[in-house]
Subunit: 254 residues, 2 copies
């Protein structure tokens, strides 16, 4: 039985609570957040605290608070030599206070309050100062998902940049597609199946091999017509730079 | 019973053949392509021709050839006043020869030879000069999918630009993510679930509302660190422009 304490009351804290709550080999024995609120409907009041000084003993303390607050929360813990981990993609492990044994338990997925996530598909990125701690974190992650990776703080920061491209920037391209549609009274939902298929394709085919469209074909007539159709300068700029980027990427590989 | 003839032997011709082959209310009575090859394992030899002059009578002639060849093929048809449609997202309906009744039967999805597609999820964009033809095309599309839209040539060309953003450009961002990972010996598959979730999210949430990340948070510390981590100038340029685009998009809405 692994005992854990969750610190924080945001998206990740709530999802971690939900994910572990019905697992026999894990017990969430306490939760801390600065407002002392409940983060799950099944939670007992006496297991919630808003005072770090009230924290009891556990195998793992999971600090799921905003990136900027991780170091501060770790500084204010009233104990030493315990295993403390944060859940961030971008904060170095060593930014937490060294009086405790440090680690990282980073679920590489985008969480929002109302979304239901299949936890078994989430990749967990694990790191720890001590090897025994790393193995314990691995064991904890494996309870939820078979996809557990040893990732150093340096690799994690790189992974975070890559995630910005495939998640934040991709979502922005969906926004631009949505804009273009609504400027022309076309329902954006027409594009939903194409979007799903685009995402699905790269799980079976390298994205370089899946590349199609006027840019890679160097179809200049279509490229010019598209630039003409686009109304906003910001849309034209994105179209031009992404086209150039595809062409130089592909050019190199010939 | 709707009788159709398919012209072309590429991805779309093959997928249309497969999609209709087991439908009771449709019969593919002949196929044309310039090499006279079979496009489906169940096809009878006598129903394949490489001569446009041998084309027999049908309700609908579906011209599924390369964009550049659509007009030429329509010019060389040996009959008049029949319903001819192309399957292109970017070619205007009126670019086909006016001796026949013209229409468009555009399946808005990305097809490749080896992918299996659930045809019932494909949106069909329909257009025709005559209203009776439009209704027949609608009937034909509805056999495969409930998602059938009346889309003018002008709207279709706009839709094609939007599709470049959400499909071609998005796939390129996946390529960049892949590059960043492999430069740092991180398996790209770690990002696959995030990519699937990013695509899934916009089917339930407007992409503007789904936007997250350092750009929209104006988290300059992270933005600077990310630019520092990126090695290639082309990656830095994309990062900078996409960040600006997100910030100006969001700025306007506040
Ligand atoms: N959301 C995701 O998709 C995702 C995915 C993977 C990893 N992560 C990481 O997981 C961690 C938590 O993210 P999140 O999305 O759950 O954030 P969130 O929903 O914004 O919640 C942040 C939580 O941190 C608490 N907090 C902020 N400053 C604090 C302080 N000084 N002392 C104590 N608590 C403080 C907040 O408390 P109040 O409620 O009192 O404001 C809130 O409960 C971050 O490191 C993030 O990078 C997030
Ligand atoms: N692929 C997609 O994802 C997709 C999606 C929606 C719509 N579309 C549209 O569907 C149409 C076909 O695309 P596709 O992907 O099937 O293309 P494709 O796989 O490249 O096949 C093109 C076909 O056109 C034939 N062709 C080219 N020039 C010709 C000519 N002068 N005379 C007769 N046949 C000629 C080719 O014949 P050979 O085999 O002899 O070269 C080939 O069979 C295009 O209008 C395209 O825009 C494609």
């Amino acid at each position: 039985m692994i005992t854990i304490i969750i610190l924080g009351a945001g998206n990740v804290a709530k999802h971690i609570y939900t994910a572990f709550t019905n697992q026999k080999s894990v017990r969430i024995i306490q939760c801390y957040n600065r407002k002392g609120v409940s983060i799950h409907k099944d939670q007992k009041k006496e297991n919630i605290t808003k005072n770090l000084r009230d924290l009891i003993e556990a195998d793992i303390y999971i600090i799921a608070v905003s990136d900027d607050a991780i170091s501060e929360v770790s500084d204010n813990l009233p104990f030493t030599n315990k295993l403390i981990v944060h859940t961030s993609g971008s904060v170095p492990m060593l930014s937490m206070n060294s009086v405790n044994r440090r680690g990282v338990f980073y679920p590489l997925q985008t969480f929002s309050i109302n979304s239901t996530i299949k936890y078994s598909t989430i990749p967990f990125c694990i790191e720890a100062e001590k090897d025994t701690d790393r193995l314990l974190l691995k064991k904890l992650a494996l309870i939820l998902s078979p996809k557990v990776y040893d990732i150093s703080s340096e690799q994690r920061s790189v992974l975070h940049v890559a995630a910005v491209f495939v998640n934040n920037f991709t979502n922005h391209l969906f926004s631009v597609g949505n804009q273009i549609c609504s400027e022309n009274e076309i329902p954006f939902e027409i594009l939903h199946p194409l979007i799903q298929e685009t995402a699905k394709k790269i799980t079976v085919l390298d994205p370089d091999k899946a590349q199609t469209g006027p840019a890679i074909r160097k179809d200049n007539k279509t490229l010019q017509r598209h630039l003409h159709i686009l109304k906003k300068d910001s849309q034209k700029e994105l179209y031009t730079l992404l086209t150039q980027s595809i062409q130089s990427n592909y050019g190199k590989k010939l």
